[in-house]
């Protein structure tokens, strides 16, 4: 009788420990949901989920400085992976803060569990270094989100879920086909083995299809059409989650593909369409946001443009560019989730505070909340004194440095348009006599205040201490 040997050792399991924690916590969540009385259920479920994420965050941080290619090179643990995993974890934690009203009472455990599984998929993508693990992570991330998108009682929720399912599956199809071609061109699924493809034409085609799949996940132009509808239909915490965690996972794969997989001599040619996509996103996203009357749709369009800024930082695939992309992604996470937390605080029992009318004269009704929102909007617009300002400056510098001055100019134009978008809301909050006085409402929960406070502090501190992790690049490969 042949003995079954497992070829992986302790080091391999250690490398995926943070992800394992996030993937197993949902089991506890579901158990708690089953066994506990209704009165404490939601609170305990949220607490268990948050503790699981924090434990995973600590486990991930402990791996700093110990790069290791686990599972035969399928998952690379180390600086790059850790940074993205921490972004995913923090993003998921802040989404949990908004999730006190996610789904009906009997759905909350399942919803939180799905959210965590989705996060574990993004964490897998952060370290995935071959086509199989990339696909595994992507599907884990997406499948849970399909269900989450449809969970609210809103009329648009099912439409959003269906739209997301169909369009995302199509994009996944593109990506799979691209992966097949990449495998055909190189004879390997390992990103590090892509250096010298046997068939360059096939390789270029495969890369193109693969990138289309990623660009869809990043919701960059021209594959962005789904974003506003899905963001609007999905419940607020899920929208917040998608706006950061999905993007972080996809960006990790994109960066690894651009920096570690593509042959050096072809990088410029293969990725040129990507820079054009980034440029289009910065313009189209901001122009699209101009006409929105719903905060979630507006933030969807703004996210399209913001991810355009992040991808701009990668232009020229320089080492500094990767650091600034990560820095801007982290800054974007704080300012965006801060804005979402304010939206959550404006929500009440049956209505999400996402219509722009809810912001009329907010500066006179709830001054502190309005001041916080102003701060996050200034950050999104890239105005000082916020991390958005420092982040944009760093991106400008790196793209000028890498010889992509035209992208820097497009970024400036996009920023000028975006200022109108964001400051329009500031105007609504502080202009006199706009809109009728709103009745006093009790917010659904005070929990988002924690998110507002931490995000505001982080956005301010990152302005003056732009912590860009220094040793991420050697650990991409």
């Amino acid at each position: 009788m042949p003995t079954l040997t497992i070829p992986w050792g302790e080091a391999d399991w250690n490398a995926i420990l943070p992800m394992t924690i996030v993937a197993l916590t949902p089991l506890l969540v579901i158990a708690a949901d089953l066994l506990l009385p209704r009165s404490v259920r939601r609170g305990v479920v949220l607490l268990v989920a948050a503790l699981g994420l924090i434990a995973a965050g600590i486990a991930a941080a402990r791996g700093w400085g110990h790069p290791y290619a686990a599972f035969g090179g399928g998952f690379i643990a180390g600086g790059f992976t850790i940074v993205f995993q921490e972004i995913v974890i923090v993003g998921a934690l802040f989404s949990l803060l908004l999730a006190t009203r996610l789904g009906r009472d009997d759905q909350s455990g399942g919803a939180i569990a799905l959210l965590l599984w989705s996060a574990s998929g993004a964490m897998l993508m952060a370290g995935a270094a071959n086509l199989m693990t990339i696909f595994l992570g992507l599907e884990l991330l997406s499948l849970a989100l399909y269900a989450l998108c449809g969970i609210s009682a809103r009329a648009t929720a099912r439409e959003a879920a269906l739209k997301y399912l169909i369009l995302s599956s199509t994009a996944t199809g593109f990506m799979l086909y691209g992966m097949a071609l990449l495998f055909g061109a190189t004879g390997s699924v390992q990103l590090s083995a892509f250096g010298a493809p046997a068939s360059p034409a096939l390789f270029t085609l495969g890369s193109g299809l693969f990138l289309i799949g990623l660009v869809f996940k990043l919701s960059l132009v021209p594959f962005h059409i789904w974003t506003p509808d899905v963001y609007e239909g999905a419940p607020l915490p899920v929208t917040a989650f998608m706006s950061v965690v999905t993007k972080a996972g996809a960006l990790a794969v994109l960066a690894r593909f651009a920096y570690a997989a593509l042959p050096q001599q072809d990088v410029g040619a293969i990725l040129l369409p990507l820079w054009i996509v980034a440029a289009l996103s910065m313009i189209v996203g901001n122009v699209g946001a101009l006409a929105q009357t719903d905060m979630k749709r507006l933030l969807a369009y703004s996210g399209i443009a913001q991810l355009g800024y992040v991808v701009t930082a990668l232009a020229g695939t320089t080492s500094l560019g990767l650091r600034y992309a990560i820095f801007y992604l982290a800054a974007y996470m704080f300012m965006n989730l801060g804005a979402f937390a304010v939206v959550a605080l404006l929500s009440h029992e049956h209505e999400e505070g996402s219509h722009l009318n809810a912001y009329a004269a907010l500066g006179y009704r709830r001054p502190v909340l309005a001041a916080a929102m102003t701060f996050f909007l200034l950050a999104l617009a890239g105005l000082p004194p916020t991390a958005g300002f420092t982040g944009k400056l760093l991106i400008l510098a790196s793209s000028v440095d890498a010889g992509y001055g035209w992208l820097a100019v497009v970024l400036i134009v996009g920023t000028a348009i975006s200022a109108y978008v964001y400051l329009k809301i500031v105007r609504m909050m502080y202009a006199r006599g706009v809109g009728a006085p709103q009745p006093a409402r009790h917010p659904a929960s005070a929990l988002p205040w924690i998110g507002v406070t931490i995000c505001a502090l982080a956005t301010l501190v990152l302005t003056f201490y732009p912590l860009a992790p220094s040793d991420v690049l050697p650990l991409v490969k």
């Binding site: 500094l320 500066g363 001054p367 200034l378 105005l383 000082p384 004194p385 300002f389 944009k392 400056l393 760093l394 400008l396 510098a397 790196s398 000028v400 440095d401 001055g405 820097a408 100019v409 400036i412 920023t415 000028a416 200022a419 109108y420 400051l423 500031v426 105007r427 502080y430 202009a431 006199r432 006599g433 706009v434 003056f464 732009p466 860009a468």
Partner: protein, 482 residues
């Protein structure tokens, strides 16, 4: 100490929100007190050694580097003084919130003038837009926010090109910690390929902010819609930030590009000079008269900045400060008129000096300073600039520049005459004259105007300390001044 000049007003701005909303008078005098404390602190901090903290190491070196000397010092003095006087002399609704915004503005603008690093300069440059934007949306008369948008769109576009230029400068030079250095003293002149674009980015930001024709269209509406204390500070100081930028940032760092742009700038300056004066002649709204007169006066300073003549540049420094003082004074007095008569239209007012002689006297002094009466601040600046222009060989521009200087007398006296002289109008309210506190608030501005008129040397010398005029062709200051 210098960093405190920036941080104190910003923190005090937040602190003022802790006061009850109804404590209007407390809030007002709190704002005056903070501005006055900043004035004293700035005076004490003059020439103290710079303060610096590391900000960025990559992609270029940038430091939170602040220093207080030269022209920047005088602009900070002007800023703190005009903020204190404007807040003391005038009333606005929702005083507490307004004081907070004015203190934010004070801190942000101080940051612009003490910055010794281009990136810090760019940060405060963009930051100073936000309080003005908020004041425009929350305090402008009427419901329209079009003025606020126009202000924002123009100035933010300028701010963004300036930011892009800063990033490019940092990438090319490896550091942005260069303000106050000059070519040959640490900073190197930038090559032609990059220099022209970097200069264009800065110049656009400065031209919009000053504003210079044809980028001025945001300015008259903004000045008309801002509440009086805010417009006094914005016209006195914020509009000088562009000229300060030309003198302190681009002149030392990009001397080649300054020289090659001189002809174009002369044209823009001259057009603005004549156009502003002509439009000011026919305006009905007194605030717009002063706004267009600013366009005219600042055009003259732009000529001086680009003349490359040391005497003209010394005159520019004097006129920058003097114009700040008398335009702050003019807007404060116009605000006091409007508080009493509920209008500021030239055609609706008349005969005020019979009822309000003190108000008339105050307006008289400001008007005389604005039209360049010898012995007051405006004259000292104008005569230095015009002499310098002739000396630099720019005879025709100087000759053209004389015409609007004469026209200034016409529109300023028209304003004064319609407000104060003639028969008393029956259809406007008769209100009490200036109270002692209001007179006291104007006194520092009057003293400053007279002082600049009779003894402008400290301000004139400030340029030779902070700006290396030898980079621009022309005779040395020292040989001419005596």
């Amino acid at each position: 100490m210098i960093a405190a000049l920036v941080l104190l007003p910003i923190l005090a701005g937040f602190a003022s929100y802790l006061m009850p909303r109804r404590a209007e008078l407390t809030a007002k005098w709190f704002g005056v007190l903070i501005a006055f404390v900043c004035f004293v602190l700035a005076y004490l901090a003059y020439g103290q050694s710079d303060e610096s903290l590391r900000w960025l190491q990559r992609p270029f070196t940038a430091n939170f580097h602040v220093g207080l000397n030269g022209l920047g010092f005088w602009l900070v003095m002007l800023l703190t003084l005009s903020t204190a006087c404007a807040l003391a002399a005038l009333r606005v609704p929702r005083q507490r919130d307004f004081v907070a915004q004015m203190l934010f503005l004070l801190g942000a603008m101080t940051g612009v003038f003490v910055a010794r690093d281009l990136l810090v300069f760019a940060l405060f440059w963009d930051l100073m837009l936000i309080p003005v934007f908020l004041i425009l949306i929350a305090w402008a008369p009427g419901r329209s926010t079009a003025t606020a948008w126009r202000y924002l769109v123009y100035n933010l576009t300028g701010g963004l090109t300036l930011l892009l230029a800063t990033a490019a400068y940092g990438v090319v030079e490896g550091t942005t910690d260069v303000i106050g250095l000059s070519a040959g003293h640490g900073a190197t002149a930038i090559g032609a390929a990059w220099g022209i674009w970097i200069f264009a980015g800065y110049a656009f930001g400065f031209l919009v902010k000053t504003p210079v024709w044809p980028f001025h269209t945001w300015m008259p509406d903004t000045y008309a819609d801002l509440p009086p204390p805010a417009v006094a500070v914005v016209s006195a100081v914020q509009s000088k930030a562009g000229l300060y930028g030309f003198l302190v940032v681009t002149a030392p760092l990009l001397p080649e590009q300054m020289r090659s742009a001189a002809t174009a700038m002369f044209v823009l300056g001259l057009v603005g000079l004549v156009y502003g004066a002509l439009v000011a002649l026919v305006q009905d709204d007194a605030k717009r008269i002063v706004a267009y007169s600013s366009l005219s006066h600042l055009g003259l300073i732009l000529l001086a900045v680009f003349s490359g003549n040391a005497l003209a540049i010394a005159g520019a420094a004097v006129y920058i400060i003097a114009h700040g003082v008398f335009s702050a004074g003019l807007f404060v007095v116009l605000g006091q008129v409007e508080e009493r008569e509920e209008t500021r239209l030239v055609s609706r007012l008349g005969g005020l000096d019979a009822v309000d002689p003190k108000l008339a006297g105050a307006l008289h002094i400001m008007v005389l300073a604005a039209l360049g009466l010898p012995g007051l601040g405006g004259f000292a600046g104008e005569i230095l600039i015009l002499t310098g222009l002739f000396q630099a060989g720019a005879v025709w521009p100087a000759a053209i520049a004389l015409v609007p200087v004469v026209l200034a007398a016409a529109y300023m006296l028209r304003l004064f005459q319609h407000f104060m002289h003639g028969p008393s109008r029956e259809d406007i309210p008769q209100r009490a004259d200036l109270r002692p506190a209001e007179l006291l608030a104007l006194a520092p501005l009057v003293i400053a105007i007279v002082w600049l008129g009779v003894y402008p040397a400290p301000v004139a010398d400030s340029v030779s300390k902070s700006i290396v005029t030898s980079d621009l062709s022309g005779p040395k200051l020292a040989g001419v001044r005596r």
